[in-house]
């Protein structure tokens, strides 16, 4: 089972091609406000995480997620 840091590192890598503004990626980087992901790109990003870690991420968690760190925490919480 992956830990918080592993999720974080994977997310930094997966966000690379989507990071068109080349903002610095940290735990506090906002997926929409800073990186500028569209709703479609958010879902594509989520699918990458799901496929890599062989998990399903419920849509229910997304309203509470703004930053990379928040998403990593939520995903870690799905797999205690």
């Amino acid at each position: 089972m992956a830990d918080y840091r592993e999720y974080l590192e994977f997310m930094y890598g997966a966000l690379g091609p989507l990071n068109k503004k080349n903002v610095e990626l940290t735990e506090t980087t906002d997926l929409v406000a800073d990186i500028g992901l569209s709703s479609l790109e958010v879902m594509e990003f989520i699918e990458k995480i799901e496929d890599h870690f062989d998990i399903s991420i419920p849509l229910n968690i997304l309203p509470d997620v703004n930053t990379i760190g928040e998403l990593a925490q939520k995903v870690q919480g799905l797999n205690p």
Binding site: S39, L40, M43, S56, I57, P58, N60
Partner: protein, 400 residues
């Protein structure tokens, strides 16, 4: 500010107004036939209506509605659970159940209420909903209200569905899988045989939304599940009366007797007024016609094949397969606006659809075919698209 979130839409509407184009909420000023009307003062072929069998303007349905109007009045003034259950409603439910070869049916005031209400109610906290990523807005609204854990599977991707069911382990017994028959934007048909096989392997309950496929597909018109031969695997059929049946309302049918108890738990059924009896009567007549006149479906598919082939021959980028929904994919919003208005000027009304109502980032001109379209009308629609190419508004090379 409360209204800030609407600014993007305000900008879009301003762009449309600047071009004097009104693709959303275009007014049909007069209806001439099932497939022709007056829009912006001009007689046009209606090719964006979902009136798949042309029954909204069928004289027999009109007469049934007129008789019910005189017998029952204009409305029920109440919910099905209060004073709003008339004999017409019960008769329609019995006929819908019989049509689907099951014992149970619920009728709703709209199709949106049917799919939203059923998805919001069937699964609850502790349950799981697995829905196709391209599901209709009403389904997304319903699953959000359900309190269940909501997981998307990739659109019409049986392998992705299987993967997600496997991940659920022993929770599949509490899982509702949701797919549609024909998807409304691109007209593609769900791979229901594969989805049903996966459900058999992993378990769960399966709901199919036949909104755009009921009356359109299957040996007796029950929809995509019937066409795929997997009806025994379907736990709940949902759909609408507003498309092939030409009225308004929605339904859910099921072989599960529990549907009769679920009826008393669906907020979208309990807390809204029931359908007006005249609409129910026209729907009953339209259902009778669907059952008695399968040749309507043959005419519909002949027209769909003709339109799809004609537009394909022009080099346009279309949805992946022939169906009564024929979607032309465009490069961007500006092109969609210009082409939509040019088609209207050429005497053809279609639907313009833009994200987020479309899958992915597609900009679409969505044509819906009717059995009531004449061959000449289908050819005129194709001719109008050819005119877009001739004028340079549309170029096959720049299409998505």
């Amino acid at each position: 500010m409360l209204f800030d979130k609407f600014q993007e839409m305000a900008d879009f509407q301003a762009e449309l107004a600047g071009k004097h184009v009104k693709p959303f909420g275009a007014v049909t000023e007069e209806l001439l036939t099932a497939t022709t009307g007056m829009v912006q003062g001009k007689q046009v072929i209606l090719a964006g209506t979902n009136n798949y069998l042309g029954l909204s303007y069928d004289q027999r349905c009109i007469e049934a509605a007129e008789a019910a109007l005189k017998k029952w009045g204009t409305g029920t003034t109440g919910s099905r659970l209060a004073n709003g259950s008339f004999a017409e409603h019960q008769a329609l439910e019995a006929e819908m159940a019989d049509f689907y070869g099951v014992d149970h049916a619920i009728c709703f005031s709209t199709g949106y209420a049917a799919t939203m209400g059923m998805t919001a109610t069937l699964a609850g906290p502790g349950d799981v909903i697995l829905l196709d990523g391209d599901s209709h807005s009403s389904i997304y609204s319903g699953v959000k209200l359900s309190g269940a854990e909501v997981i998307r599977f990739k659109h019409s991707d049986p392998d992705d569905l299987a993967k997600r069911l496997r991940r659920l382990g022993d929770r599949t017994g509490n899982t509702l899988i949701i797919a549609e028959g024909i998807y409304s934007m691109l007209g593609d048909v769900a791979p229901l045989q594969e989805i049903a096989a996966i459900k058999r392997e992993y378990g769960g309950y399966l709901m199919i939304d036949e909104a755009h496929s009921m009356g359109v597909m299957g040996e007796t018109g029950r929809g995509a599940a019937q066409a795929a031969g997997i009806e025994d695997d379907v736990d709940f059929f949902a759909g609408t009366f507003s498309k092939s049946l030409g009225g308004i309302g929605g339904f859910c049918t099921s072989r599960h007797p529990e549907l009769e108890v679920i009826r008393f738990c669906i907020r979208a059924y309990i807390f809204t007024a029931s359908s007006t009896p005249s609409v129910v009567a026209s729907t009953r007549e339209a259902l009778r016609i669907i059952r008695a006149e399968p040749e309507l479906r043959d005419k519909l598919w002949n027209n769909a094949n003709r339109l799809y082939a004609g537009l394909e021959n022009l080099g346009l980028t279309l949805g992946p397969q022939v169906s009564p929904v024929v979607a032309v994919q465009l490069a961007d919003r500006s092109q969609a606006i210009d082409c939509w208005q040019a088609l209207l000027n050429a005497g053809v009304y279609v639907n313009m659809v833009v994200p987020p109502a479309t899958p992915s980032t597609n900009f679409l001109l969505r044509n819906s075919v009717s059995a009531a379209h004449t061959t000449e009308q289908i050819d005129q629609i194709i001719g109008a698209y050819a005119g877009l190419l001739d004028s340079g508004l549309l170029n096959p090379d720049q299409a998505a």
